[in-house]
């Protein structure tokens, strides 16, 4: 690949903890620096002061779209970028920010007497794709830096990145983990989008579907299994998957408009 012009990439953030950017800088050492031989970073608030108004080859967007005021900025990124990649749960699904979509009192609970300050005003927490066209997603909370590198390298080679549509159970079984239901526990692996390699169930921690849902998740049967096999109450079984999938579930606020 020597002699080729470097691919210009930029990082942008919206409503998020910026943990995915931190994860990005965690590449550290020679590994990430090697990727820098092939890309030129032109904007990255977490790691440099320069910004850009120029055309970008790949724009990476972190964070959810939760203020109408942000739409313009997103549209401007889309106009300037050949490829837009949403990365991290907040950008891909709305992430845990979207938990507020089902609540009315979150501002008072979080900000107390400052709740009415104008800069705290926000609307539904939505994925970036609710405002602009997104070409690829790097899922997860935080996103997985190996998957990030894989997707970028596939794009550098002109290959369409292969992103699983199937559930986490696949990767859990391939790793020969004991199913948490067999240990008297619960898990959302049957509906959660794979690609992470099932690190949580491998450690005995239930999958919370931080990568969003697999394609055509069987939400009805999930509720049934949570009740029958994990002993959940009706109400808990109904709401259990909401932590990361509030915008993906059958009761998502924008479901009818899609």
């Amino acid at each position: 690949m020597e002699g080729k012009p470097k691919v210009k990439v930029a990082y942008f953030d919206f409503a998020c903890c910026e943990g995915c950017q931190i994860e990005m800088t965690n590449f550290g050492g020679p590994a990430f620096l090697e990727l820098l031989n092939h890309v030129e970073i032109v904007e990255f608030r977490e790691a440099m002061t320069e910004t850009t108004d120029e055309t970008i080859d790949i724009a990476f967007i972190e964070g959810s779209f939760t203020r109408e005021a942000d739409r313009k900025r997103l549209e401007s990124i889309r106009e300037r970028a050949n490829i837009v990649i949403a990365y991290g749960a907040c950008a891909c699904t709305g992430g845990i920010n979207a938990l507020k979509n089902h609540q009315n009192d979150y501002k008072e609970a979080v900000y107390g007497k400052d709740a009415d300050m104008p800069h705290l005003d926000s609307q539904l927490a939505l994925p970036v794709s609710a405002a602009i066209k997104v070409d690829y997603e790097v899922n997860g909370c935080p996103m997985n830096k190996d998957e990030f590198a894989r997707i970028v390298s596939h794009l550098l080679h002109g290959k369409t990145p292969v992103i699983p549509k199937y559930p986490v159970c696949v990767e859990c079984k391939l790793s020969e983990n004991v199913c948490l239901y067999e240990l008297g526990g619960h898990c959302l692996g049957m509906v959660a989008k794979a690609g992470c390699g099932a690190p949580c169930p491998a450690q005995g921690i239930p999958c919370e579907a931080c990568r969003g849902f697999a394609s055509n998740p069987n939400e009805k049967t999930l509720e049934k299994v949570l009740k029958d096999r994990a002993g959940f109450s009706e109400e808990r079984a109904k709401t259990k998957s909401r932590m990361f999938t509030a915008n993906c579930r059958y009761d998502a606020p924008l479901k009818d408009k899609e």
Binding site: L35, L156, H157, C169, V170, K173, L174, M190, N218, R229
Partner: protein
């Protein structure tokens, strides 16, 4: 065929000596389940296991396997066979290995499978505890277990060891074996015959009857109805000892010049399994519904492969039934229902 006997303490020494001189793999405990894993001392070996999470094919056909490393257009194989002894394989898994041997040998021989398979010595063992979802006593009863090198049966006081190939005979040097007497051989036969009657689940018909009826049930409503609770998670495929589909992907290392081609087990219950490209970024799925994918799996096991394998592509291990979180995968349940339709 020779048949030997070794007493309990002699068997312990035998395993100890194998551990010292060979790569020994066998059933070991994992939390409240069992898996095939490395045996480092006699105590690791759990011949009293009921069933393992993944079938033993993983020892020569790993769930995730690097096939070759590439540099530009040049490639170098990653397959580096290491002789191993696989001890304690139940007869149903021996039948399954014989099937995957055939499937990977036919047409284009799959070197990546065969290289590792051929340097594996397989010593079977009798089933001491029957898994509660197993139905090996009533499925494909016309198919004999074969392709293994030796078989151990626990009887009172020790083990009867059937020597089938030279690979097994060569192992006699590690233990104090004697010729088995008639009584010991009879006891072993009895143990292996009796276990066939101990499954709590049972198919009610012969393979031929099932083959015919299931094939004629393509339009039955049972498929969509049963699959209403399917997660399309492919767990039933992944744990199946006769499933052999895999996916191949190339990945570059960060230098963007070298990379690795790897394959991993695939499964026809997964939605993306049956997706094909129509070009220009459009995709078509030729088994779009859960029911059609569920039907395909049962059809493959109960009918499609029968001619090639001389019986069903199912050995009754019960793994699919036990991993299915919504408990719809059980072939006994669905096949017995079809037979009554």
């Amino acid at each position: 065929m020779e048949t030997k006997f070794i007493n309990e303490s002699g068997f312990q020494d035998f395993v100890g000596k194998l551990v010292e001189s060979r790569n020994l793999v066998g059933p070991v405990a994992k939390r409240n389940k069992f898996v095939f894993g490395e045996i480092n001392k006699y105590e690791d070996l759990r011949l009293d296991y009921d069933v393992t999470l993944l079938p033993p094919k993983k020892l020569f056909f790993p769930p995730k396997q690097d096939i070759l490393k590439f540099y530009g257009q040049k490639g170098e194989s990653c397959i580096d066979p290491d002789p191993q002894i696989l001890l304690g394989v139940h007869f149903y898994d021996i039948k399954a290995i014989d099937m995957t041997d055939l499937l990977f040998r036919e047409n284009n021989e799959d070197y990546n499978y065969l290289a590792n398979r051929e340097c594996t010595t397989i010593i079977g063992s009798n089933i001491q505890n029957v898994h509660d979802r197993a139905f090996f006593g009533s499925v494909g009863t016309e198919v004999e277990p074969k392709g293994h090198d030796g078989f151990l049966t626990k009887i009172e006081g020790g083990y009867v060891f059937e020597i089938i190939t030279a690979k097994a005979k060569e192992l006699l040097q590690f233990g104090d074996f004697q010729d088995a007497n008639e009584n010991q051989i009879k006891q072993a036969e009895k143990v292996n015959a009796e276990v066939l009657t101990k499954c709590s689940e049972k198919l009610n018909n012969t393979s031929a009857e099932i083959n015919k009826k299931v094939r004629n049930s393509f339009d039955s409503k049972i498929w969509e109805k049963t699959a209403e609770d399917c997660f399309s998670c492919g767990s039933c495929n992944i744990v199946c000892p006769t499933c052999y589909c895999f996916d191949v992907q190339d990945d570059w290392y960060l230098d963007q010049e070298t990379g690795v081609r790897a394959r991993s087990w695939d499964g026809c219950l997964k939605e993306d399994f049956s997706e094909v490209s129509l070009g220009q970024g459009s995709i078509e799925n030729f088994r779009e519904t859960r029911g059609s994918r569920y039907r395909h799996r049962i059809m493959r096991k109960a009918t499609y492969l029968n001619e090639k394998l001389g019986g069903p592509a199912c050995v009754g291990c019960g793994r699919c039934s036990s991993v299915c979180t919504s408990d719809i995968a059980d072939p006994v349940n669905v096949i017995n229902q079809i037979m009554e339709e």
